[in-house]
Symmetry: C2
């Protein structure tokens, strides 16, 4: 091993320690830290974030990256290290172009805007948030312009959250999807909504936690390589391959929400837990492709979790933990978890209308970044699009443009990855059934772990070694298309609602 | 403010950030981290410990400390900063005398010895542990010799855990105590043990957690400045004044153990939560006086928590959370929590025999450090002393010398602080009653928070500004004496067991 390579590996290891503590500081902030400790916690986060930023922009680090990029050295590196050098050099150069003062000011502006957004959402008053959003938009444009001065800012943002993705591809597949979804939704709405009163009741939180453990174990979450906690919104956090954590939020009136959050976050966690340990400390361990990550949580949550066959082997166990389920026939439960209907809030939407929530946000982001629509016109634009896509109109900003926190902290370009994940899932489902046979048969047989193992082998173990379009090519043998997802929807809901496909 | 002072304050603030993350890394390791994440966690702990050690021994730091120690600068500092400069300079010079290689080797030896101790305790086999203990003893002697080459090593250790304490004082008060305790114990044993079968049963863990919350709130723990979690052994950890956390360990067969752990750790936490925020980042915020700290946990646990009057205002609430208590008269419960009898395990001992467990350990430590008793002779010496002090003889090493982890990680000199804490408590009780009146009356009235407020005002808010003997002088107007603790014991047990004092 060359001296530079050895030095580089040590450096990566050191950077990893900062990732570890920052991840822990944030995890603890969301799951445990008491109110009066928040200020001290933010000081610690600021301190170690700054140190981490310094490490990732240090001249000595840049020197190593440049040396290792020279053909003589580069060619002798193993593939994971080659990818690490390439990706980290790109990030190093991007960060080096950002003035430190600007970086600090941008971070502060995002933190402030996030806090104001929370308040504005509570008050359902966009005008409170508007000047802060305007500032975050203009600074985000500036930020990506520093990183990639010659590229279109929104393309840079899309690529940040889903490497290799571009708006031409998204335009194509979102259009394909929209065309297929609108007639399907019409048929579903015509069929009418199920009566769900049988599910009403009070569900013990301690029992819901046991259901969560049962579900996590069922789908293949390794309890020796992770843990669970409560937080305001469910999320997954990766400390390292051997420590991937999920949170949940429980509701006494509704056990289903926490059940599906458990399966969703469990899917993310199973990805993180099954990355090949050989990739430790390399860039391959960090899966920054949000669409690919989301495809794994949504595969478990929707493609598997919303099937009757998923519940058949465990419905008795579920009923023993939550006795109310003894009175609810499995078919009634399955109608409840597939109750498709237009609604205002993305995070509460069913798997079909969810797609339209994302298409709306994607169109809004293009309006912001390409058409420079004035910030004060955005709430009306949002409401118009809701009416166009879902046929309903928000009555206030809280159930309209203020519902999501993403824009308050500058995460423009993130939303499309949710829907990309679902489209990947349609494709993965086809490939999986081609190889392993009918998914319903596998699930009814209680062999869900065969599916988890297939995902481990084909997707998880590679971490971010392949980007999403390479994964699709390798696993499905084709480019991104919305067709398999539409096929899945059409087949499933025709059967469930009893109409012709 | 001088430039050096400003620079020094920034430096203290930076060191504080390392304390914060190290505390959090350890807290999370004991309360949440899964098995497969331990190795990565240990790497993070090693990395940040080394960085923290570097900060505390850096030349630039020493230079600041020396400059600020010069009369011209020192005299203009406020008292907390004067104390910080003095204490930190002492520690800086101590650490500077330790060769870095030795420090690393010592840390490794302690970690290894701790792991072997766990195994040896499980197997109840001292011979497995013996060579590692021998190494830790000799390296601890070397360690303190580096720190203070001209002082007796055991005196240095005592001072490390209880600043200003020495073995002459401990000899005097432990002897005083032993002489008073042995006749009392004789009378208690003659009175016979109570019948506690009424308490047998199965106690729901979720309900025990609610009892813990109720008790913490009752004694004055601020839930907005702390949180709770589960761990193998209960402990308290201070992240900062606004974030002090306690753990507990629950047992389905025995709710009393977790109740008293809650009160004990709650006492520690109330100390940490009530340090004057003006001391933030200074040495005053760090209370390294273990005896003084232990006096606060034991004051709540024993002096208050084992009285009938403590439970009178909350016994109905307790019975509503743990319905079995409806069948247990308060008097029966009070006999159970004051069941004094010789037993093998320190952590399970009652408040009276507990003292003798500590005296035993103190005598053992003097045998190790002063008389250089060979390691292989220690188990028999332990057993002989148990027989002498408590009249019972361990049947194996697990219930004898292997029961505590302290020596495995080099914490010699720590044990006496537990008993010093109890003796301080006897003195604090006298002072408190002189000022506020009869404690039983205050408690029966439901005014326990008056007592907490008195402790806040007289002890907690000062952090470590005064050392323990200064605190005794200020609060009780006298030097350390075992007499008040003996008075408390004699009065209490004469009444409870109905014998003459």
């Amino acid at each position: 091993m060359s001296d530079t390579l050895k030095q580089f590996k040590d450096y990566l290891h050191t950077m990893r320690q900062y990732d570890h503590v920052l991840t822990l500081l944030y995890w603890d902030l969301s799951t445990a830290a008491p109110e009066k400790g928040v200020e001290a916690r933010m000081r610690a986060i600021n301190y170690f974030s700054t140190e981490a930023f310094r490490l990732s922009t240090a001249d000595e680090y840049g020197k190593m990256l440049h040396e290792l990029s020279q053909p003589a050295q580069f060619d002798s590196l193993d593939p994971a290290m080659q990818l690490t050098v390439k990706r980290n050099l790109r990030d190093y150069e991007r960060f080096k172009r950002i003035p430190e003062d600007f970086y600090t000011a941008y971070t502060e502006a995002k933190t402030r805007s996030e806090r104001i957004w929370e308040k504005a959402k509570r008050n359902s008053d966009f005008s409170e948030f508007s000047p802060y959003l305007e500032k975050v938009i203009s600074m985000t444009k500036e930020y990506v312009h520093y990183m990639e001065p010659d590229q279109d800012p929104y393309e840079v943002l899309l690529d940040l959250y889903e490497e290799g993705m571009d708006s031409a591809t998204i335009d194509r597949v979102f259009e394909e999807l929209k065309e297929g979804l609108l007639p399907l939704l019409g048929k579903i709405e015509a069929a009418g909504r199920p009566n769900l009163s049988a599910l009403e009741g009070h569900y013990d939180i301690a029992a819901q936690k046991e259901v969560q453990s049962m579900l996590l174990d069922y789908i293949g979450f390794d309890a020796d390589a992770g843990t669970t906690a409560e937080s305001e919104h469910p999320f997954t956090t990766d400390l390292c391959i051997g420590d991937v954590r999920v949170t949940n939020h429980y509701n006494e009136d509704d056990p289903i929400s926490a059940m599906f959050s458990a399966i969703h976050e469990g899917g993310h966690a199973i990805f993180g837990q099954n990355i090949d340990p050989a990739y430790e400390d390399t860039a391959v361990e960090q899966v920054n492709m949000m669409g690919l990550h989301e495809s794994q949580s949504r595969f478990f949550e929707n493609i598997l979790g919303r099937r009757r066959s998923f519940w058949e082997p465990i419905y008795d166990k579920l009923s023993s933990l939550l006795p109310q389920f003894k009175q609810i026939p499995l078919d009634t439960f399955c109608r409840a978890i597939n109750d498709v209907h237009p609604s205002m809030i993305r995070t509460e939407a069913d798997e079909v209308t969810y797609c339209l929530h994302i298409i709306l946000r994607y169109e809004m982001e293009k309006a912001i970044f390409r058409d420079n629509v004035p910030v004060d016109d955005l709430p009306a634009l949002w409401n118009d699009k809701m009416e166009e896509l879902l046929g309903i109109r928000p009555q206030n900003d809280a159930e309209g443009i203020l519902q999501d926190m993403h824009w308050s902290d500058g995460s423009f370009g993130y939303f499309p990855s949710y829907l990309l994940g679902s489209m990947y899932d349609g494709m993965f489902l086809e490939a999986l059934e081609k190889e392993l046979g009918d998914v319903d048969e596998i699930l009814s047989d209680g062999r869900i772990r065969d599916i988890t193992a297939w995902l481990n082998e084909n997707i998880h173990r590679n971490g971010s070694f392949y980007n999403s379009s390479e994964v699709l090519q390798r696993v499905c043998g084709q480019k991104l298309t919305a067709r398999p997802l539409l096929d899945y929807f059409n087949k499933k809901y025709a059967k469930l609602y009893g109409f012709d496909r």
